[in-house]
């Protein structure tokens, strides 16, 4: 197959999954809403309704892209480390501590906090990797446990050291302006974070496709045994992939707290976004350069769902159902039988039967 053909197939596959997912969302809205037409309109057109909502969409997409990037790096090595959420809390807490320290009064705090957040995230990413390489501990369970632990420790740290009494100990004071990412468009959340996310995409692409480490990582993910026979130290690759992924997760934490969206640290600031990186990585097939586009597309749906949650009687959490169905449909066309199935129902008249299974 040529690259063009693959691109066409992939796009068709993604659009198919998106259409099915939207149909499911429409059905749920029809059942659950008293005013389904208006609700669906908010869901579909809401993100474009004002300059502010467009900004929120772009900002969410940047964060989703980073989360997707973190997952794609470990998925490419065929590791199922799911610790991005914990890394975000660790990175955000460290970044907040720096922003609220005397350092926060200078612009230096932005790069320093970003690097410190990445180191915190990398440390959290390293633990499950090391435990798997040395102790053969399943990385899925250990990374998930670390998410819960990191969340609790971040809350403890926030309550004891960062929170302002006025907030009822659930949020810090606003960071000094010098420690907040500058906005490119006034009164929107489009800020330095977008640039950092795009930069991270470029760096990960370069590492994966233009360095020996990236080649080894992709070979390990493709066929670990073959990679080991050809002399690749797959344990080193595995641990370094998880650590690098953790650094991205940590950076995402800094983006959250120092971005225009918060400009302070709040309990639960991550709001479940990290796990949505799984969808981004799966739909982008772990390709860094595809990630920003997938993030923009999904970010739009996410923003629409959020607005639907505020403005109508259908909760924003509907997006979880859409998300899960897209993952099921996109991930299941990985190999030939799935593809044949997709082709069959796309060619035939029974397309409506697929989502009900």
């Amino acid at each position: 197959m040529t690259n063009g053909k693959i691109f066409f197939d992939e796009t068709r596959r993604i659009l198919f999954a998106a259409v099915i997912a939207l149909l499911v969302a429409l059905v749920i809205i029809l059942i659950a809403s008293k005013n389904p037409l208006e609700t669906f309109q908010t869901f579909i057109a809401g993100p474009l309704s004002s300059k502010r909502t467009v900004g929120n969409w772009i900002d969410d997409s940047a964060k989703l892209a980073l989360a997707g990037l973190a997952f794609s790096l470990v998925f490419q090595a065929r590791q199922f480390a799911l610790g991005v959420q914990g890394q975000v809390y660790a990175g955000g807490t460290v970044a907040a501590a720096i922003a609220l320290s005397p350092l926060g009064l200078s612009w230096v705090s932005i790069p320093v906090a970003a690097i410190a957040a990445m180191m915190a995230g990398a440390f959290l990413g390293f633990i499950p990797g090391y435990a798997k390489a040395k102790l053969n501990a399943n990385e899925i369970v250990s990374s998930l446990m670390l998410n819960y632990i990191a969340y609790d420790i971040a809350n403890l740290f926030l309550r004891l050291y960062l929170a302002s009494p006025k907030s009822g100990l659930t949020a810090s004071e606003a960071f000094p302006a010098s420690a907040v990412y500058p906005a490119f468009i006034a009164r929107t959340r489009i800020d330095l974070g977008v640039v950092l996310a795009l930069g991270a995409v470029a760096i990960v692409w370069f590492l994966l496709y233009r360095t020996a480490w990236g080649l080894r990582l992709r070979l390990t993910g493709h066929n670990a045994r073959f990679a080991a026979y050809s002399g690749i130290r797959s344990n080193f690759i595995m641990v370094s992939a998880m650590t690098a992924s953790g650094a991205i997760g940590g950076l995402l934490g800094a983006l959250f707290v120092q971005g225009q969206g918060f400009a302070k640290i709040v309990v639960g600031f991550e709001g479940g976004l990290s796990f949505e990186g799984i969808l981004i990585a799966i739909v982008a097939r772990n390709r860094p350069l595809a990630i920003p586009f997938v993030a923009l597309g999904y970010g739009y749906l996410r923003q629409g769902a959020a607005l639907m949650g505020y403005r109508t009687d259908v909760p924003a959490e509907v997006i979880g159902i859409v998300q899960g169905i897209v993952i099921l449909l996109v991930a299941s066309s990985f190999t030939l039988p799935g593809r044949a199935f997709l082709n069959r129902i796309m060619g035939g008249s029974s397309a409506a039967r697929a989502p009900s299974t």
Binding site: A137, M145, E317, G324, P337
Partner: protein
């Protein structure tokens, strides 16, 4: 320090451990059955959550046992859905499992909102029922230890005793029946099993359906006994801890049950500790079950051959 030991050694603590263990035990027995046939079920968390909500909603309109059965059935259906996407459409089982978890997290809030007419957090307005408790106070009649036994073992959910029974039933199935042998054979070396005329995919489907049904029962116990009613994300990682128990239990039902009791004990401890050690921050105490799970996993995995 003595206060901690006094608490742990009390009969009331044993009762608390039994209570906290039951949902995790159901889910980990389910996880064991699917792990044995080669599909690690990371969706236990989501299956428990959906099972819990289904049980609560159904029990508001039907007798309690119908609610429990509904939780079991919806879990089994989710297992069948996973089998369909994993085995028929060749998706990675981890991704399918996570898709189920994501659908569960969003879907339960959406469904709760719909069922309660606008409440996104709890089912407090639904008159959901509880699983009755089994009164064993006749144990009092045993001289000497009778009252202690009563305090430990009386007043638990019917489902707790079902879970204990299932540990032995699953052991018997796996190690004393031909079908159980096939189950273990598929997990051990699928190609050999296939050569012997066993269809691995058929058994994997059974494994996933059974794991979903058991996780659904765990959810029903959680929302109809440990707590009465549903709150969003009420499983709070129990499904993942159950997965840890499967890995820790070395693929054996009794080992899995022991691991589940271990995690249940630390959950009970994290509930009891704030009263004993008020100066230790609640957040730190809250991490105990998760820290214990990750440490146990690291320490126990070293000698394991299978990953």
């Amino acid at each position: 320090m003595n206060e901690i030991f006094d608490t742990i050694l009390s009969a009331a603590f044993v009762a608390a451990v039994i209570r906290t263990t039951t949902p995790v035990l159901f889910a980990s027995l389910g996880g064991l059955l699917s792990d044995l046939v080669g599909s690690l079920n990371v969706a236990l968390e989501g299956m428990m959550l959906i099972g819990a909500l289904t049980a609560v909603i159904v029990s508001a309109y039907a007798p309690w046992y119908v609610g429990v059965l509904a939780g079991l059935a919806v879990g089994g259906l989710l297992g069948a859905l996973m089998a369909l996407f994993h085995l028929r459409f060749k998706a990675d089982v981890i991704l399918v499992g996570f898709a189920v978890n994501i659908i569960a997290a969003g879907g339960t809030v959406t469904a709760l909102n719909y069922a309660t007419g606008g409440d996104k957090g709890t089912s407090i307005n639904l008159p959901s029922k509880a699983v009755p408790s089994l009164d064993l106070s006749f144990l009092d009649a045993i001289p000497g230890i009778g009252p202690v036994l009563t305090q430990m073992f009386s007043g638990h959910s019917y489902l707790t005793w079902l879970a204990v029974f299932l540990v032995f039933a699953i052991w018997y199935f796996l190690y004393r029946t031909p079908e159980g042998l096939r189950f273990r054979a598929v997990g051990e070396y699928p190609a050999a099993a296939e050569a012997a005329g066993i269809s691995p995919n058929r058994l994997r489907t059974y494994g996933l359906v059974a794991s979903g049904a058991l996780a659904g029962l765990g959810g029903a116990q959680l929302a109809m006994f440990n707590f009465v009613g549903f709150t969003r994300d009420m499983t709070a990682g129990r499904g993942f801890i159950a997965l840890g128990a499967v890995l820790l239990g070395r693929r054996h039902p009794v080992g899995t049950a022991i691991a589940a009791v271990l995690f249940g004990a630390f959950e009970a401890l994290s509930i009891a500790l704030p009263g004993i050690l008020p100066r230790v921050p609640g957040e730190v105490i809250h991490t105990i079950p998760f820290v214990v799970t990750v440490l146990a996993l690291m320490l126990s995995s070293k000698r394991r051959v299978t990953a």
